[in-house]
Symmetry: D3
Subunit: 297 residues, 6 copies
């Protein structure tokens, strides 16, 4: 009997047969795009990322020489409240509390807030945060909407979920109100622009991350629009001048040793993707994260 | 000096230079897709329909021999509340009250409810309704959400905005809970399936419309998914087996003589469109509607 | 807790949670396109059809007033032998024998042969056959390859798997060697061209099917290229002039009362699809088939 | 040694190895889109139509039972003058005079004029004309340009190249200035709208063609936008409500017996096509035309 | 009342409400692609760039901390002569003379010539020129056409519009006749290949620009195909090996202090774009240019 | 008479009129994708690469200042055995023996094996090998299939066709079984990961190639998935983090002086491409190779 080619795998993340929780990282989908401010469609992200992840099943991670698919479960999708941001945030938080270590596939970046609220209850102190994004996402408001995808970290800082002194943002380059930028910097957040990544290279950026985070439990929020639109066309608020995939991978690999407590990969909007390259990039960063964690164990 | 080719027209509906209201039909965009239940993206409909409408500028309507672009204004887009259905409905109703005869470019079909609420205040009785759609849109609930795009006519009937005895739905074919279908029929709504359109032809359907509506003021809600996905791929909840564009056009032309009070063209989701054919179909149905009204004047 | 929107369903056919066999129709995917003669890509059909089928979950079939999703299991994908036609045919036959009533999602039309070989062992006589296709698929050879997707019914007739006198082909219109056409007609096969469908209508075609099949156990092989490329661009050997989706649906509904023994839906090639309309058409025809069978039960 | 699958054929029309002229119909490409008034791109039509034509090579025409590929040569592309309409028209006419019976792959519909000028020199009287199109193409002007793609038949009538009394246009439906329409009708041209095709059917339309043309030598100009955008998205000036592919095929087959003198297939713009369905439709109509001619021989 | 999300902005550049000229930079569209030598479609560039520019409205430029949208008007599109290069060049020049500081959205690169002719009349000496492109655009001829998009700078140098000694071209990498290259170098033009950009980095390139231009009034012509096709697929004459978006941005930012007199952004062909990434890159470079100018003021 | 624009060239590689062999490099297409393990479609690669190559015709290579199109013939496509890997390998080998210096357009990477078998007969020793790829392609097995596209160099090493000590692989980054990686390294193959290319740059990589190959006759196998999916979306087994086009070009140019004996460019799958950028990248690398060889002559 033949073994299974990638295109015949079950459509779970990395084709894992398990669909219930387990100790260690567990993948869930959160198909909510109610807070997107430009192009919508991130609700279809989880299905697309899972489908693209089949490329990563057949073999070990070539750098770490271990197989991330061996240590992951896929618990399916969270319930959301259609068209209702506050209720959706409540539902996400409620469901997230059942998991020790979540790896969430978005959905828009607004889902990070309830995930952090749930995670915070497992920790005695605010979490450190690594945030890949083109946008600072610390707007106090999104065209009148308080809890949309431009604001999760404004609230997360204000609610004491993350420690701004141990927060680092990478890939920043969008237009932004100067007072939003100043508020963020004033809180102590480290902002690394995309241009800085291009000019100083992944190794230098990783050193800044290690310095900012130290040994604190750290959450990783990866908005796919940190990448340049050439590498990630399938997203709602693209900004040119972004990271190449290899830069993000190279930075992540140099985050080995950090104490990761959870992750989300957000803003993949498949309707704007081509040949699933954005979804594959998203799946790959999750796979890199799982490898980091497996290695640490 | 050369005249202006279609691709250099101002990006208003039919390239009209006016952007303020006037007596007679006035086009507005309502870029809201917060109530979509499957694929999102109808928020980008107004811009796409306007862009596609340039094809219809250069000449008279070949059947009615008059030029619909001469009698239309484009008042731009309504304000909406990002990610907040109830507040958006309130805002739409408020703004709609300023217009005598609106032609709204959606956005999802949920916008019909506040438009009907506003329009109802100008009339002493519930309006008659012609509704092109693959779905009855009389669900009392949308996966837990009361005011999403599957429910506008459930509420419109219950709130006395439209008269179900003078309501006719054309193109219906989606899966539907049997009790929803029975409630709708029980209220007196005439349901014409897509299969009936294919088998009896536009002339027979138009006679059923004329019989159902009579001389009552009538609202036209045209969900582009009434068309088959071959003719309208760019939409969120496609269902195969739908109408051809020519059938819808032919039915509309035979609606001459009805007393139209307003229209919406909804559910164009450009991210799923190809070569703007869905947006062009939407623009064409609005152009047919404007011709009907111009002719009546 | 909210219920589940379509875009958050498990990626099985019709979102069914069961993934093991049961009495009655059971869906399997057969991701094999090794025998395609023009554009390849049908190997990705099963995943796309399952994904598209989510549109059909929420409610009853509007004509039969029953819910096909209640009576179906999805047993996942069959093992295939990569790049090896003979071994793949052997594997498919072997696995198919475990199922009483298979509904196979292809893959190319070559998979029909081993499915019929397996099914034939459950019956004392050759099966009747309804075959929707642009091509007769009775070529003795495919550019030198004996068992590719142009030949399944040449072999099925020669091996006594189907009874050519009770075989009817619908939608035929491709170029074809005149001797192939004559061999097929000479065996007693009824060939209904696409042009005949357009000119005489679904009801007349359905009467010809009922007459040809009678009360014999019948297999349905539906090649999506029976549809016109406008309705099914996502396929490998498109031919213009084909059926509209509604025609196929209307014919299928009029097949009620036939004794169906199995089905395949083949040749969906998602790389050439737009907005998943081809995959949705395929999913819909399977759903129509399931409704027919549920009704008969 | 294996025979040649369709995807490995030489990229000539129908894979014909001959690339020089011969008695009987000869295919040439005319990659000029300088006169397009909306979306450009028809310059890439000849390459796309040839590539799509490979689908039609393997076998006989199923209706006429003969193989059109056996009687065609492909002489490559005509030289054109980049960005210069008058000079391009001159070059086309010059080159066309070398051929007895041309089948031209456009390019925009403006190429019909020099082709008719060249062909007229071989005939003692103006030619009859069958013109499939959404537009009458008898505008005296195109946004200031006299010889663009909206005017070929205005000039052809005025120059005595075609006989308006023996001219029939099929599929007409675009907006048009009423005086242009009246000029055309006043000259004696028979205009068959798309709506008439839908409502009376191909057989009735073909009878009108036969009546209009009689035994005169006749030129066929087929603008692919005669088809509905669902069937032909890949074109520059799409208009909804158009013909289905099968209708055009069915009409063409009923033109058997006419004395064809030449043909063009124009306005295929591959940049707007999906899965080459527009190019395939174009190739198929040429193949139908070749079959008609072969049969007549 | 809610504020306006990006997708509901007026479709002017950066959503500016002004549509008439003003002191300082003024955006116009020039939808002409009559001189393209490979794929056409740049006529649709202005509409696409404006639509994509909405991403850049909400906030200040993150580097310069000022808002370019506050100092721009959008005067709509220039009239062009359909299909007539010489007359179009005349019309562009005529209209351009009404503006003090134009920022033109093309259209093909041939429009630079009449823009420079008009601008030259405001200056006592030939202008300096910064030209981002894959091609030198100093061909004396384009397949027989003297004024197409491969020749603007051949003429601009010969006509004394630009000073070749103060001309620098960046991103050059296409095949080119050796005598064309030698003519260009012989005139004193500085040619920086794409490979040099990759290997020496933006800071070094910017120093070469500053050295070449000095304090002369300088025109910026940015052909989007200076970028690699990965970053700008939506163009007519792509060449691999090109610039990343960030490199162009980084170079532009280092051009602060130069005395800019006008700009064009050309060769965006939306029919070949994906998810509007090319149009967004184009809009972003214009936004960078506006920021440079605003800063200087 | 005008000269020929790129879009009107014959659809041979670089528009060469010759279609028969000659001394020196000769291009052939090998449209076989029977051994692809993820997405299929590489069978359509040769036609797409030829079509895209028209961009490279008009002028000299800007670095080497010579015209590669002057020294190439295009002998059309090899015969293959549809759906039969062993027979196809046999046919390829047989046909390849007729050529002195082949440049093969794939097709999947499995075609390298028979090409090397044929080439080996012209040499007294195993060949050196430069292999650009995301994957090592030394798997002993592909989901049960021995001769699919993951195994050509496993066999080539075992059969003594290439010398592993003089084999260098560039761009490697996919998941891989650790024993496969160790076997490859154990044989003496030099593996350069994509990350190493990014971090040390093309010049350093080229020095490693020159060191590994020396003066031995060397074969170049270029799998387009060596590039990042942003640069080459149109392929079957994409992996993020890959090379930029310019890096591959820069490395190739620094391979001047090597003694090339043949080349293949494989795994271009046009169904997943956008705006032909992948095909153009493939065509460009072949053009670079031809320039290297022409220069050496």
């Amino acid at each position: 009997m033949a073994s299974t080619p990638t295109f015949a795998l079950p459509p779970t993340f990395l084709g894992t047969p398990q669909r219930t929780a387990q100790p260690g990282p567990c993948v869930v989908g959160i198909p909510f795009d109610g807070g997107t401010t430009n192009r919508s469609g991130a609700r279809s992200g989880p299905a697309a990322i899972r489908q693209a992840s089949r490329m990563l099943v057949d073999g070990d991670h070539p750098y770490w020489r271990l197989d991330p698919s061996q240590a992951v479960a896929d618990a399916g999708d969270f319930e959301i409240a259609l068209g209702d941001i506050p209720e959706t945030l409540r539902l996400i938080e409620l469901q997230a509390k059942n998991f020790e270590h979540l790896v969430a596939l978005g959905g828009d970046n607004g889902i990070s807030l309830p995930l952090l609220r749930a995670l915070r209850t497992r920790h005695t102190q605010p979490l450190a945060l690594i945030h890949f994004d083109a946008h600072v996402d610390t707007w106090p408001d999104n065209f009148g909407q308080r809890y949309a995808h431009g604001s999760p970290f404004f609230h997360a800082i204000n609610e004491g979920l993350v420690d701004p002194q141990r927060t680092i943002q990478i890939g920043i380059r969008s237009p932004v109100a100067t007072d939003v930028m100043d508020w963020t910097l004033g809180k102590g957040v480290t902002i690394v622009t995309a241009e800085e990544v291009h000019e100083s290279g992944p190794a230098a950026i990783a050193r800044r991350i290690q310095a900012a985070i130290g040994s604190a439990p750290v959450y990783l929020s990866f908005d796919i629009d940190a990448l340049d639109p050439a590498f990630a066309p399938g997203t709602g608020t693209p900004e040119v001048g972004g990271l190449a995939s290899w830069q993000a991978q190279s930075i992540l690999r140099r985050c080995a040793g950090l104490r990761f407590a959870g992750m989300d990969l957000v803003e993949v909007a498949p309707a704007y993707d081509v040949a699933e390259i954005t979804a594959l990039a998203g799946a790959t960063f999750v796979w890199e994260y799982l490898a980091l964690n497996l290695r640490t164990v």
